[in-house]
Amino acid sequence: MLSLISKRLLLVIPNLIGVVIITFLLTRALPGDPAAYFAGPAADKQAIEQIRVKLGLDKPLIVQFGRYVADLASGDLGNSLTTGQPVVTEIKNRLPASAELTLFGLIISIVIAVPLGILAAVKQGSWVDHTCRVVATAGVSLPVFFTGLLLVYVFYFLLGWSPAPLGRIDVFFSPPTQITGFYLIDSVLTGNLGSFRAALSQLLLPGLTLGIFSLAPIARMTRASMLAVLASDFVRTARASGLDSRTVILTYAFRNAMLPVVTTLGMVFSFLLGANVLVEKVFAWPGIGSYAVEALISSDFAPVQGFVLTMAVLYVVLNLIIDILYGVIDPRVRLEG
């Protein structure tokens, strides 16, 4: 098991190196001149030049890259030009908001999609099966921002059930004391039920939006995988041995079917991290997605760089966890690798 983890870690390093290099290149290519922006509209050419030197933008690319890596190593992601704050701090503050939202959405989708996929496969051809197929295809076709807007229109404007999409918690309540940064968990831990309800009601619509978005690929993959496994030889043996349906479906079929689904989770995460940005814009969620979008519009490259880097590192770590999870479920990977 340990050798599996260490092998995977080794493979991760070249990926991280690639990510760092590409992020650097991308953001150096951003249009607009940060030096001019920083200097202000009244500055003359000389002043802009001075600022450029101060920011180190006159040095050759290699040297800039060297400084960049050195800064990274010491945990310095630069400062945002628009707010003046260190990027690391802002990302650290905003990350829990995005993480809570994404996890909430993912849990909703798994809880619905996996049983739906299993049922659709077991009762092939029934109405459950057809519903699953329609849901999967429709879900994959819905633009995530559109879903969000629709939900807001229906549940806020028409039905009035949901609060206004203006952030993580209603103005009348105060956020719970910070322990993990996850409002739901913190409010439960501190026994603050009022805040819990407020935070939950704000979380519902955006979480549902993300949930609907990731529902489709998970349901589709679960169904396809279960179908394939249910038709396999070892399930035939299990049936011929008289094992009851629960054992056959759950212990024999499902555990094997989960393997491709776990791998799909990696792809789903990639989509989720992207969809996050869009959903945060629709619901004015104070996460790192909206942070990055605001910075992009003003050509403020340090936050953008920090954002892309954080997302990529997060993604690499998530994939590592998925690989390890796969190894836990599948002994062939563990023992042969």
Binding site: K7, G242, D244, N256, I329, G337
Partner: protein, 580 residues
């Protein structure tokens, strides 16, 4: 858990007296397909007495497997029993509710299938899989179940059962996996065991071991067995009675000795004749009328011309070990890194093939015969040694470069799997034309007529030339492959198990075709096979390989009747012989 407790003792075993254990009357099974309803099995009768072994023999499409699936009621969604009765131990299986049927499966009747490794859950320890069956049928309490499982493993002769309990299927060999499957089937001591082609894909020696085990265990327990197979020899060796099926109908049922000595039905006779066995010639494989019409065989060629066509000397093929252990060892181990041991698939073998000669290369799986044939074909490169073809050193030419050389025309191949070796997007005509187009220097206008000539030579009806592989039968595809191989009039053809995937009656025809083509076109053959009976019929000399080395070689008759090496003797004795 409550479910499991209930299952014990619901169906009580009756005293049968002289009644058969399984009694099937007028069984008809239908499948709903895209093209309407298909009758896979039509009005068949069969019965199995207590303690009896019944063999069901037939070629592909005969419905033999479908029958057993119907009895156990594990048919596909699209299949159903349309008519007939299935009585098991006095119980009407068709009227039995599914919950009771589930009780019956594994406890009263069980089944073992082909492809043993695929039949086991790949991510569950084999010990636990046996436990699942034991617990399901409430054979034993949960604290005693592990011991029982280990006992079962012992009974199927798996060494070190306590250790192997924790193994996963991928860690075991094919033969061991089949033993585990047998353990699963027999764990609850059922009355009936259905074995559906249990030894297909296994080596001949493993096959014998597995069948002997099954017979021993079932006799011990007084079980009845149904053995489904396409191998007549197997049926003869292990069954009391044999039932022959063709296209969904029962053609003949008789005691084993009677059916082999005096087959009544023409189809049975055709099958018997088509089975390769001792002491006959190729022509005897064909049905009597065809054999009478066929041209008499040319007598075995005398020792051939001085220089052999193909000379192989001290040929070696090594594969470097490239697994995780060695990679990590290279990275983190002591420097300088010890080169990990390479795997020798072929270990310094030498042999020749003369002009006009047919040489057989036999051995079990993993012996290196296929690797050898690939090297001679110049599809893979050798590691060391000499390959001389008609005086030229072809071993030195890289496989990559060989394709476009004129020498390529002279060495061709007939593949094992006719489906895999034909491009699914090419018609038969296009497939046969390919070598002519690339190397044959045949002008465009003449391609069609050349292809038609070749098709006629191999007995392929001309209107089939416009079909795609999925629209052709196994035998037709084999003929297309052969036509393609002889298109360039090669000197040497390597045949890699060319009839292994074919029904025995089709095999009979194809073997005769191969012999006639060889004689009329003056080619030499290198015939790679694991089937000694087939080799005996077609080859002048035979080479026996094992673990990458040649164990014995010589004239076929001599090697087969008076083998010198112990391994050859083992191989020969493991082949089940029909008493024909």
């Amino acid at each position: 858990m409550a479910n499991r407790k209930k299952s014990a003792g619901r169906i009580v075993r009756k005293e049968l007296g002289s009644l058969p254990l399984l009694d099937v009357h007028g069984l008809t099974v239908e499948f709903a397909t895209r093209r309407g309803v298909v009758r896979a099995v039509e009005k068949i009768d069969l019965n199995v007495a207590k303690g009896e072994t019944l063999g069901i023999v037939g070629e592909s499409g005969s419905g033999k497997s479908v029958t057993s699936y119907a009895v156990m009621r594990i048919l596909d969604r699209a299949g159903r029993i349309a008519e007939g009765s299935v009585m098991f131990s006095g119980l009407d299986l068709r009227a039995t509710p599914e919950a009771d049927m589930r009780d019956m499966r594994g406890r009263e009747m069980s089944m073992i299938f082909q492809s043993p490794r695929l039949a086991l859950n790949p991510i569950r320890k084999i010990g636990r899989q046996i436990e699942d069956v034991l617990l399901q049928h409430a054979q034993v309490d949960s604290d005693a179940v592990s011991e029982r499982a280990i006992e079962m493993l012992e009974q199927v002769r798996i060494a070190r059962p306590r250790e192997r309990y924790h193994a996963y299927p991928f860690e075991l060999s094919g033969g061991m996996c089949q033993r585990v499957v047998i353990a699963l089937a027999l764990a609850c001591r059922p009355q009936l065991l259905i074995a559906d082609e249990p030894t297909t894909g296994l080596d001949v020696t493993t096959q014998k071991a597995v069948m002997d085990l099954v017979v021993e265990l079932t006799r011990e327990r007084g079980m009845s067995t149904i053995l489904i197979t396409h191998d007549l020899g197997l049926a003869a060796a292990y069954c009391n009675r044999v039932m022959v099926m063709e296209k969904g109908k029962v053609v003949e049922t008789a005691a084993s000795s009677a059916i082999f000595k005096n087959p009544a039905h023409p189809y049975t006779r055709k099958l018997m004749r088509a089975t390769p066995r001792l002491g006959i010639s190729l022509r005897s494989l064909l049905p009597e009328e065809e054999a009478a019409k066929a041209r008499p065989l040319t007598p075995l060629a005398k020792p051939v011309a001085a220089t052999p066509l193909l000379t192989v000397e001290k040929l070696v093929k090594e594969y470097p070990r490239n697994d995780a252990k060695s990679t990590l060892a290279k990275l983190f181990g002591p420097k300088p890194a010890k080169e990990p041991e390479a795997f020798r698939a072929v270990d310094r073998i030498s042999f020749t093939v003369g002009r006009g000669e047919s040489v057989g290369l036999v051995g079990e799986s993993g012996c290196g015969k296929s690797t050898t044939s690939m090297m001679v074909m110049r599809l893979i490169d050798k590691t060391d040694g000499l390959i001389m073809f008609d005086g030229e050193d072809i071993g030195e030419i890289r496989a990559r470069d060989f394709a476009t050389l004129p020498l390529r025309k002279r060495i061709q191949m007939v593949f094992q799997d006719p489906t895999d070796s034909l491009n699914p997007r090419f018609t038969a005509m296009r497939a046969i034309a390919d070598p002519l187009m690339r190397l044959g220097n045949v002008p465009r206008g003449e391609l069609t007529s050349r292809c038609e000539e070749l098709a006629t030579q191999v007995g392929l009806p001309l209107d089939l030339l416009h079909r795609f592989p999925h629209q052709l039968s196994g035998g037709q595809k084999a003929r297309v492959g052969i036509a393609r191989a002889i298109a360039l009039k090669p000197d040497l053809i390597i045949l890699d198990e060319p009839t292994a995937a074919l029904d025995v009656s089709v095999q009979a025809v194809v073997l005769n075709l191969l012999q006639d083509l060889k004689d009329s076109l003056g080619m030499s053959y290198l015939f790679v096979s694991h089937d000694l009976n087939v080799v005996r019929l077609l080859c002048d000399r035979v080479i026996v390989m094992r673990a990458g080395q040649i164990v014995e070689q010589g004239p076929t008759e001599r090697v087969m009747s008076a083998p010198e090496a112990a391994y050859t003797r083992d191989l020969l004795s493991a082949i089940p012989h029909p008493p024909l």
